[in-house]
Symmetry: C2
Subunit: 349 residues, 2 copies
């Protein structure tokens, strides 16, 4: 049973550990929701869950945790300014006019400003050549006031994404997507300079919720390069025993149901159902999917890769969607940027 | 149940697939050992196993398979010579006078000669500086007649192994230990230039024994950088569902017993016992451990990380120790070297 120890518990269940307590817990009536340190949005999510059934799980409030991290970073940036007389800088490269990409970039720049990171940006037209994009990356690589470079994906189809990402100096690879960083993440005795933001955010949520990782079993649902794969490597570095579940996995439900920790990042709405979740597990839901809902104002609602209402009945703690992993991704981008700047300043750059 | 289809079956069990056949197999008297295409050494191993109990498993004959591969490579080298007028070359760097390292290096050079690869070697004294070793590596990096560079490990303690390994050009990293190669191995949509030899050999044994990997569950026991970790990444690339078992894994036996494929690389004599092996599993034993045996001529005998006699009763196919994975490691080193040369020749180098 994964323990979520970050916040005081208001559980009605016996507090003593051991098998007897677990057995009692299984038989006891469901505890009232323990929505601790939660913002209104999460309280609403919990209420929605309760319309289906009473939930036992503690909500992991990603918005509140991300806010804490941004405060910590703001203080760190102040210290860096005082110590070195320099400010961390993030460069964001946007190619084309995709509305969603423009929104993401705007949010990232705004988040930078809030913690005192200077944001630089280059917007290129949809028709920009690969060489032009590479030139922009090379210039930022050489610019000592830039400590992180982010190329907003997807790039237009005529540009080789892999080639552009590989061109980012690994000292400034704040997305952590460079194969050198991934290789170091996989290898014992090595440390990557940067870890991809979303899986890093998942681990941070678990750690700040007091979930023990070492010696626990973990299931990662999905094996993408940006979430599932690095999340599995991160969990393994923390001495969890990890199984990666993917589209070719036989009996995914049974494997998942053995895990003390679940990270769901498969991109399929509510794929992880109640019986996929072990009693007392910690559940991190990376997914964000729009599903039709005539009763909703906009005609749809956002759901994760986990069936929240079902999973919350069995989990010890769980992230809501939205307000769970989402806010952590940008917080971790800022974290990586400040880390990169700290290394650069310490090295005299 | 993992099917081993490479060789004709001499089983007494019903051949029809499906649950009924499996149930019948579970009830049927143990089949006689199916030692197919095995060399005298393996026959002896099988006989030894039989002194404990009758075995049902087919032996995976690494020595015979490695011999096949060396023949294939010899033919490929001839083709390269005819097509480009050039010969693949492997450079082996040995620092110090360790007897075991000297033997390994001698065996590698001998294996090169047998398939027509030119071997180069630099032997440095135990007292050589890190800079001297790096200079040797840099020279081989620049030498167009060298297509693979191997630094024999371990290096003397005063030399930073990581720094030396990272200095090898990734185009010549025939050991596949460079983090760029490991990163590419972990990432979907990328292909490493080289895969580490021992785990590559494990996969080759499975494939040449007709073991299906896609959609199967696999357990990798051990998470070293040179075997366990890359073996897990390779299995996942083949669409297996992989769990890495390590020293902090709870209930390792139960997890392992669910696997259709086991790769044991934990370095602990006979740790994987009979009840760790699912009926019908394919078992690859990477370990080679000396255990005291007063009845043996030399006072010890070599055993793997798997209890062979017990596992052979339940497995569908299994590698012996010695004569399983061992011969494959050098065969894969030669394979990597020929691959590197083929790429270089095709690029006009």
């Amino acid at each position: 049973m994964a323990a979520c120890l970050a916040a005081p518990r208001a559980s009605l269940l016996p507090q003593a550990p051991g098998k007897q307590a677990q057995a009692a817990a299984a038989l006891a009536p469901r505890a009232r929701p323990r929505v601790l340190a939660a913002r209104p949005q999460q309280r609403a999510a919990a209420r929605r869950a309760m319309t289906v059934t009473a939930m036992a799980a503690k909500l992991i409030d990603g918005k509140a945790i991300a806010e804490d991290i941004r405060k910590e970073l703001k203080a760190e940036v102040e210290v860096l300014k005082a110590k070195y007389g320099k400010t961390p800088g993030l460069a964001v490269v946007l190619v084309g006019e995709r509305k969603d990409s423009q929104t993401y970039v705007r949010n990232k720049k705004k988040a930078c400003e809030e913690v005192g990171i200077v944001s630089y940006g280059t917007d290129l037209p949809e028709t920009a050549s690969e060489e032009e994009v590479l030139k922009v990356v090379a210039d930022y690589n050489a610019d000592p006031s830039v400590h992180g470079i982010l190329v907003q994906l997807p790039l237009p189809k005529h540009i080789d994404e892999q080639r552009v990402l590989d061109a980012i100096s690994i000292e400034k690879d704040v997305d952590g997507f460079h194969p050198l960083n991934i290789g170091a993440l996989a290898m014992r005795g090595r440390d990557p300079l940067f870890v991809p933001c979303t899986p890093k955010g998942c681990l941070e949520l678990l750690k700040r919720s007091g979930v023990q990782l070492s010696g626990k079993r973990a299931a990662v649902v999905g094996r993408s390069n940006i979430v599932g794969m690095p999340a599995a490597l991160l969990l393994q570095r923390e001495d969890a025993t990890v199984t990666v579940i993917h589209s070719r996995t036989p009996d995914a439900q049974r494997i998942c149901a053995e895990a003390d920790i679940i990270i769901a990042a498969c991109g399929k709405a509510e794929m992880v159902e109640g019986d996929w979740v072990k009693e007392g597990a910690a559940v991190i839901d990376v997914g964000i999917n729009a599903v039709d809902d005539p009763s909703a104002k906009r005609g749809y609602r956002l759901v994760g890769d986990v069936n929240f209402a079902q999973a919350a009945e069995r989990a010890e703690c769980i992230t809501p969607v939205p307000g769970g992993v989402g806010p952590m991704t940008i917080a971790m981008l800022l974290r990586n940027c400040v880390d990169g700047a700290t290394r650069a300043f310490a090295a005299g750059h």
